[in-house]
C-alpha cells in the first residue's frame, strides 16, 4: 500500500472536519473522492498532500510512519503534488510557472527546458509557453497548473475538483491527461468531483465522504450516489 491512514481526525477548535478510522491507497491507481460540500474532501487531500497535519492518528506512507515535523514533511511533499480547485499561477510567464518546481529540485536549465516543453505539450499548452500567466482563461490556468504539477514527476497527484467551472472541451482535456499520465507514468491519482461520469470513466476506486466520515468505498459508493 502507498498510504495507510488509521484513526485520522482533523479538528478546527472543537469542530471535527474529518474522521477516518481506516483508509488504504494503492500505488498506481486512480481514486475518486465523492461527497457533498463540507464533507471534508479538501481537508483529506491536504492531509494526503502533507500540507495539513491531522489532529490525531497515523499515516503510513510507503510503509513508513509519517513524522509530522516540518523537515520530514518537506521531503514527502516532493513526491506528492496537490492541485487546488481554483489553482493560482505565480506572476510571470507560463514557462516560469512550470519551471518553479524543477528549479527547486535543482534540475539543470537544459533539462528543465526539455521537461517544460514536454509537459506543456502533454496538456496542450505549448503555444502559451511565453504567455503571461495572469492573462490565461480559467481552463488554460487549470491546464498550466496541471503541467506545473506534472513537470516534477510526482508519485501522487491530488486534484481538488480539477474540472470545476470548466467547459466541456477543457474538462475532456484534463480527464484525458490524467488518464494518460496514470497509464504511462503509473502516477497515483486522487481527485474530488461531483460528476459521476468522471468517476465511472476515470477512477479505479472510489471513496465516499459524508459528514467528515468515510461512509463507503468502491462499488458501494456508486449505489449510494445513484
Amino acid at each position: 500500500m502507498l498510504y495507510v491512514l488509521s484513526k485520522i481526525t482533523r479538528k478546527y477548535g472543537s469542530r471535527t472536519v474529518l474522521d477516518i478510522p481506516l483508509m488504504e491507497i494503492e500505488k498506481g491507481k486512480i481514486y475518486a473522492l465523492l461527497g457533498p460540500n463540507g464533507a471534508g474532501k479538501t481537508t483529506l487531500l491536504n492531509i494526503l498532500g502533507f500540507l495539513e497535519v491531522p489532529t490525531t492518528g497515523d499515516i503510513l506512507y510507503r510503509s513508513k510512519t509519517v513524522n509530522f515535523s516540518e523537515s520530514s514533511l518537506q521531503n514527502l511533499r516532493r513526491e506528492v503534488v496537490m492541485i487546488d480547485q481554483h489553482p493560482i499561477l505565480f506572476t510571470g510567464t507560463v514557462y516560469k510557472n512550470v519551471e518553479f518546481g524543477l528549479k527547486i529540485r535543482r534540475i539543470s536549465q537544459k533539462k528543465r527546458g526539455i521537461i517544460i516543453e514536454e509537459t506543456l505539450d502533454l496538456v496542450g499548452m505549448s503555444a502559451f509557453v511565453q504567455a503571461q500567466a495572469h492573462r490565461l482563461s480559467g481552463g488554460e490556468t487549470q491546464r498550466v497548473a496541471l503541467a506545473r504539477a506534472l513537470a516534477v514527476s510526482p508519485e501522487v497527484l491530488l486534484c481538488d475538483e480539477p474540472t470545476s467551472n470548466l467547459d466541456v472541451e477543457n474538462q475532456t482535456a484534463i480527464i484525458n491527461t490524467l488518464k494518460q499520465i496514470n497509464e504511462q507514468r503509473k502516477t497515483t491519482i486522487m481527485f474530488t468531483t461531483h460528476y459521476m461520469y468522471q468517476v465511472s470513466s476515470l477512477a479505479h476506486h472510489t471513496f465516499f465522504l459524508d459528514h467528515c466520515k468515510l461512509t463507503a468505498t468502491q462499488a458501494e459508493s456508486f449505489k449510494l450516489c445513484r
Binding site: 498532500g49 500540507l51 516540518e70 518537506q74 511533499r77 516532493r78 506528492v80 503534488v81 496537490m82 487546488d84 481554483h86 489553482p87 493560482i88 505565480f90 506572476t91 518553479f100 518546481g101 527547486i104 529540485r105 495572469h134 506545473r148 504539477a149 516534477v152
Partner: protein, 231 residues
Amino acid sequence: MELLVDSFLSAILLIFSLDTEVLSIVWVSLKVSGISTFFASLMGVPLGFLIAYGFFKGKRILIIFLNTMLALPTVVIGLFVYSFISRRSILGSLDLLYTQKAIVIGQIILILPVVATLTIAAISRIDERYRKTAMTLGANRWQTACVIFREARFGIVAAVIAAFGRVIAEVGISMMLGGNAKGFTRTMTTAMALEYDKGEFILAVALGIILLVLSFAINLIFNFFQGRTRA
C-alpha cells in the same frame, strides 16, 4: 492676494534660475530623507514580512503597537532622540546633535512603523494559495517566503515610497535635531518655517512649490505601484 501672486512669480523665477541656496536645501532634504528611508526600509521590510508571514504569540499586540506608532508626532520623536544625544546625555559624546545623522535617526524612528505596517498589509493581501502552491511543489520555508515576497513586491515598493513621502515633508524632527544650520542641516521644510518667521516669502514659496512637485511625483509613483498590486 497680491503678495501671494508676486511671491509665486518670484519663486518660479528663483527655481528656474537654479539658485545655489535652493539647490543646497533641496539636496540636503533629498539626501537626509533618502538615507533615512533606506535604513528604515532595510529594517522595516523584513520586520513587516516576519510579522505578517510568521505565527507567534503577541502578533496582534505587535501590530497594534506599530499602528499606534504611526500616530507619533514628530516633535515627540525629536524630544525623545534629543534626550539621548544632547551634550549631557548618554550618547552626548558622539556629537550627534544638530547633524544630518541626528535627523536621520529621528526620521528612521518616524517611518519605521510606516514601512513595517504597510509591508504587513501588502503581505497579508497575498492569497493564501500562493503559500500552499509553493509548498506542494516542494518549496521549503525560505523558498515559500521568497514566492510571497515576490508576489507582494509592488505593495512593498509602495510602502517604501509612502515612507519617503512622509519623511520629506516632516519638519519637527529636522528642526529639533538638525538645528536648521544653513547648507548643512537646513531642509526644505525647516527653511520654509524660517523664511516665514522672517517674513521672506519668495524662498518659502519656491521651496513649497518644489515640495509639492516632489509630493506629486511620489504620489504618482505610489499610485502606480498600488495599481500594480491590485492588478
